[in-house]
Subunit: 300 residues, 2 copies
Amino acid sequence: MGAARFLRGLIRTVEPSAITVIVNTADDDRFFGLAVSPDLDTITYTLAGLAGPRGWGLRHDTFTCLSALERFYDAGWFHLGDRDLATHLYRTDQLARGATLSIVTSEISRSFGVTARILPMSDDPVRTVLHTNEGVLSFQRYLVGRRARPQVRRVSYRGAARARPGPGVLAAIAAADAVIVAPSNPFLSIGPILAVPGIRRALAAHPGPVAAISPLVARRAVSGPLTRLLRRFGLPVSSLGIAARYRPFLDTLVIDRRDRADVPALAAVGVRAVVSDTILTSPARAERLARDLLRSLGLG
Amino acid sequence: MGAARFLRGLIRTVEPSAITVIVNTADDDRFFGLAVSPDLDTITYTLAGLAGPRGWGLRHDTFTCLSALERFYDAGWFHLGDRDLATHLYRTDQLARGATLSIVTSEISRSFGVTARILPMSDDPVRTVLHTNEGVLSFQRYLVGRRARPQVRRVSYRGAARARPGPGVLAAIAAADAVIVAPSNPFLSIGPILAVPGIRRALAAHPGPVAAISPLVARRAVSGPLTRLLRRFGLPVSSLGIAARYRPFLDTLVIDRRDRADVPALAAVGVRAVVSDTILTSPARAERLARDLLRSLGLG
């Protein structure tokens, strides 16, 4: 998950308590009756320094309960660690008692010692749904269950039109020195956030810089189905395709050195390019990217 | 749990598929939002040969999720193993989808390869509540959380008056060659079953023998707060006190050799005594007791 990889570096150069992370909740789903919020948890665990090595779950987790669940369910493809399970149990319990996702999220992140503010994009249910040649699939079933193999015809964000931005979301955007769109999939990870009424407008109205980090390196997706999705939606598989998704609010796009040929074309559409190393395989690399970006925004 | 200890022996002498176990559900509770049915699970795990050594949970279970839950809850006193958790998750999920407790119970027991029929006493919620000098406590909080230390003033079975017997319960009693009341606490384990309207009458109307196994040995409770409860309710701490709770449907009471002095007094109130060894510390001992009892009922 690009956002998590980037945040590992950002918190090395910016005081975490000065950071607000607005998180996609449209991949939230119920598994075994549990309210699972994959992106919120990945961000929380990452900021707590406890994220699992593969980008999901908690480090050093065990899978005893999941094995036992296979007695009842045919859903072993969904990885759910015993420690991670406690987070889902708490969230499910609190939501059932009437707490909002925002409140539960802040309780969970506090319990993990996270000082950055983690805000769900909305407390209202939004679901990314992929219309594919194998039928309508939830994001998790498409990505994890079917390994992004089905051919996507359309992406929709169910519930988005009626969703309100989560408490604090619009205010955090308005008050931010800079907004940074993480190097995530513009359709599946950032798209749902932008589909919540009011958020695009808040970004466009933001007085400071709004930057994004391209998830492409050498015109290829680091992971996931991004390349195919860009093609499917008739966009160039390049920084230009990413910039197109984020117009008109985008001022600055960080692109990888291997994509520096895109700089003039970006300038032509009014987007300033910052060239850096965007393969974030270590916190040190992510820190270097964060420093490059903040410096270019006059905040370094 | 006396019922589980006895069943370990009964299934060694009676074909399990010929056994129906009617189980107390008044200790069911919600923990961490999960629907926990301690007695149903103990019976299921016992009949599957997978019960934990201390009478609850699954053998060889781990407690990783429970440790992680302590981040969120102050309820570590409630032991919840990672494998056991899968059963609670499945039950909670299915109940939320509208399944009845009877149906979920039969699915769970089937998934554990249990061929005996396990019937919840009722699909309607009943809760054993103890009115104590420390206030009103649920059974689990009283027994596990407070280790049965508070002084009990009254026991009530909330919801029992409106509860209907679970599907098959009355029919199973009517069709049984014999009914055996397990060596459990008459107030806390058997009492709730008898409080469900129709069950007492079905036992009284039963054409075959209705036997009970006394949970007392040498006029003392093998475990738990039974002695204090008998005193509290003005009953003799002896086989006579147990028989008094099960009149008028009781024909036969199995008592321990150390209580054989009670035989004439039991006969005087119309209860036939079967003297055996009722300390069920091993399946072999329980099997001997089951054989003694069945023989005395003309079924051995």
